[in-house]
Amino acid sequence: MNIVVCVKYVPDATGDRRFNDADHTVDRVGVDGLLSELDEYAVEEALKIVEASDGSEGEVTVLTVGPEQAADAIRKSLQMGAHKGVHVLDDAIHGSDAAATSLLLAEAIKKVGAESAWDLVICGMASTDGSMSVVPAMLAERLGVAQVTFGSEISVTGDMVSIRRDGDTATETVEASTPLVLSVTDQSNEPRYPSFKGIMAAKKKPVETWSLADLGVPAEQVGLAAAWTKVDASAARPPREAGTIVTDEGDGAARLVEFLAGQKFI
C-alpha cells in the first residue's frame, strides 16, 4: 500500500507567536517552527499500515506546502520512518488560504501518483495553527475520491479500510475502499520517537522540491491575493487580568456559586 501523508510546518506553540503587521499573516521570521504535532499521528498511522502489510512493497511519501523552513517537517517525518518527501515551495504561495493549500496539495498528490499510484492520503485532524480541519475534505473533493475524517482507529484489509469515528453522542465504524483521503485524530495511535537509526537514515532519503511551475498551477490561483477570506485586523489578546479574591465572611460558598454561575461555568 502506498500512502501520501500531508504534514504542515507550524510555529511552535510554546514560543511567542505573532501576526505580521503588514498583511496579517503569521510572522514566521524569528519564530521556531515544527511539524504540527497532530500530523505526527498521520505519519505514525501511515507507517503502521505499511509495516503491517508485510511482504507488499509499501511506501510512505510525506508532502508539505510551506516556506523554506518547512523542510524541517519533512525531515522529522523521514526520521520517524517515512520513505521520501515532497516539498512544494514557491514565494507566490505566501498567504494562501485553505482552498489554495488544498489545490496545491491535490496537484502535488496527482504528480506523486503519476510516478507510482497511491492508495491512501492521510492528513491530521487539524493543523495546530489554523486548525480549520477543512483541508482534508477539500483535498478529497479535488482528487475526486472518498473521504473519511476524524478516524480514531484504522484497520486495513486488502483495499478495504475500516475506520472508527468517535462522535459526542455515538461511535460509528465505517468502511471505505481505496483510493481514499483519511484524517486521523490524536486518539488513533501513539506517535513513535524517531530512533537514532531513523535519524541517520533520513539524511539519505530522497526529497523533491516542486514549484508552482512544476505543478502547473498559475500563480494567480494561490497566495494572499487569491484567498477567499482576508484578515482585516488583528490584535494581541490583552494580558489576563488579576483574578477576583473573595474573602470568606461566612458566605464564601454562596459567593463562589454566584461567581461560577455568573460566568456560566455551572
Binding site: 522529522k76 526520521q79 520517537y193 530512533s195 537514532f196 537509526k197 535519524i199 541517520m200 533520513a202 539524511k203
Partner: protein, 387 residues
C-alpha cells in the same frame, strides 16, 4: 529572555542529525523519565529492566558503536544524548553509560566474534543488561592492586573474589569482570546466572538513588575458555573502557547543571523577596551570570573534545581535562542554585539537590577529581605522582 546555553549559540555548532538525536532524547526524558524520577529517587528503586528496553528502542544503548544492531552515531551525538539523560537524572545516564561505554564497549573492542554476536545485539535492544566490575572494596583509584583472581583449570577458568560499587550489578545479565591471572590483568564475560555468582545491592545511598549499585562476589565460578576477552591484556583494557565512559560524563554532568540553572532562573523569577522578584537583585544576577559562564565554557570544551574524538585524535589526558572541569563546575552550579532556591531547594519538589547529591558520585566514579589532576599533572610535568 534567553536560555543559558542559547547565549552561547551552541545550536549553531551542531548539525541536523546531532540536533535530531538530542531532541529525541530530550522528548523521551520529558515523557518517560521526568514524571517518575523524583519517586524513583525517593524510593531508591528504578524499573531498570523495562527502562533499558525503552532506552534500547530509542537507540541509546551502545549508540556510538558500529554494527551488531548499534546505531553507530558520532561521538558528539553520544555526548548530547548524555546531556539530556543527565538533565533528567545522573542515575539514568549511569545506566546508559555503563551499558554502552563500559560493558558493551569492552565486548565490542576486546571481545571475540562469538562474544560480540552473542551479547551485543541483545544488549543494544536493552533485553540484556550489562555491568562492569573493576573496583574492589580495597582498590578503587588503584585498580592494579585488585585481588580477584582467575586461575586456569584445564581449558576452564575459575574465578574467585569480589567487586564493589558496581552499577547495574544486581540487575545485570552479564558482567564484564577484570581479574588477576598468571598473565596479568585479563577481562572475562561472565553470565550472571553462572554458578558461584552473586550480587548484593548496596542500600542507604544518599546519591544516585535512581541507579542500582551492587557488590559482586565470585565463589569458584567456573568459566569456559571462551569467556576470556582475547584482545585485552593488562590494565590498559579496563582503562580504555573508562576513557569511553568518561567522555560521556564530560557532557552529561553539564546536563545536570543546565537543569539546575534553568529551574533556578524560573524559580527566582517567581519568588518575591522584600517586595520584588529574586531575579531583580544584583546578587542573584551575578550568581546566574557566573553559573551561565561556567556552563557555557564547559559545553564548548565538551564539544571541542567531541570533535577531537570524532576526528580520532582525542587523548586520554584530554578526557581528564573535560571530566575534571565539567563535573567540578556542575556540582558547584548545583550547590549555588540550591542557595537561590533556599528551603525549597532541599526538597524533591525541585531537581536541584537531587542533582547535587548525584554529582557527588559522578565526581568520584570514572576517576576521582584528584586522579584526573594527577593525570593532567603528569602530562604537564612528565612526573608521575600517583605513588
Amino acid at each position: 529572555m534567553t536560555a543559558p546555553l542559547d547565549l552561547f549559540a551552541i545550536d549553531g555548532l551542531l548539525d541536523d542529525e546531532e540536533r535530531g538525536i538530542r531532541d529525541t532524547v530530550r522528548r523521551f526524558c520529558d515523557d518517560r523519565i521526568r514524571p517518575e524520577i523524583a519517586g524513583w529517587f525517593e524510593d531508591a528503586s528504578v524499573p531498570a529492566r523495562e527502562l533499558s528496553v525503552e532506552l534500547g528502542r530509542v537507540g541509546l544503548l551502545g549508540m556510538h558503536l558500529h554494527g551488531y544492531g548499534c546505531a553507530g552515531t558520532n561521538a558528539v551525538s553520544y555526548g548530547l544524548a548524555c546531556v539530556e539523560l543527565e538533565a533528567a537524572d545522573s542515575g539514568i545516564r549511569s545506566l546508559v553509560s555503563v551499558q554502552g561505554s563500559l560493558a558493551m564497549f569492552a565486548i565490542w573492542r576486546y571481545g571475540s566474534d562469538e562474544q560480540k554476536e552473542e551479547w551485543l545485539p541483545q544488549m543494544a535492544r536493552g533485553e540484556a543488561i550489562g555491568c562492569f566490575g573493576l573496583t574492589e572494596a580495597d582498590y578503587g583509584s588503584d585498580p592494579g592492586g585488585m585481588r580477584t583472581r582467575a586461575k586456569r583449570d584445564g581449558d576452564d577458568w575459575v574465578l574467585s573474589g569480589s567487586k564493589m560499587w558496581i552499577t547495574n550489578g544486581s540487575v545485570a545479565d552479564v558482567a564484564v569482570v577484570w581479574a588477576r591471572t598468571d598473565d596479568g590483568i585479563r577481562g572475562f564475560v561472565v553470565p550472571t546466572d553462572s554458578a558461584g555468582f552473586s550480587a548484593t545491592e548496596i542500600d542507604h545511598k544518599m546519591s544516585l538513588r535512581a541507579s542500582v549499585t551492587s557488590g559482586l562476589s565470585f565463589e569458584d565460578l567456573r568459566l569456559p575458555a571462551s569467556a576470556l576477552l582475547p584482545e585485552a591484556r593488562g590494565l590498559s583494557g579496563p582503562l580504555g573502557c573508562l576513557s569511553e565512559a568518561r567522555f560521556g560524563i564530560v557532557f552529561g554532568a553539564l546536563g545536570a547543571a543546565r537543569d539546575c540553572l534553568e529551574t533556578t532562573i524560573a524559580y527566582a523569577g517567581e519568588r518575591q523577596v522584600f517586595g520584588k522578584p529574586l531575579t531583580a537583585y544584583q546578587l542573584t544576577q551575578a550568581k546566574l551570570a557566573d553559573m551561565t559562564l561556567e556552563l557555557g565554557k564547559g559545553m564548548l570544551l565538551a564539544l571541542h573534545l567531541g570533535r577531537l574524538k570524532d576526528a580520532g585524535t582525542l587523548r586520554p589526558e584530554q578526557v581528564s581535562l573535560g571530566k575534571l572541569n565539567n563535573v567540578r563546575e556542575a556540582i558547584a552550579i548545583a550547590r549555588e542554585c540550591r542557595t537561590i532556591l533556599a528551603a525549597s531547594g532541599i526538597t524533591l519538589d525541585y531537581p536541584v539537590m537531587r542533582h547535587a547529591n548525584n554529582l557527588e558520585s559522578v565526581l568520584t566514579y570514572e576517576g576521582t577529581s584528584e586522579v584526573h589532576q594527577l593525570v593532567i599533572g603528569q602530562a604537564l610535568t612528565g612526573e608521575s605522582a600517583f605513588r
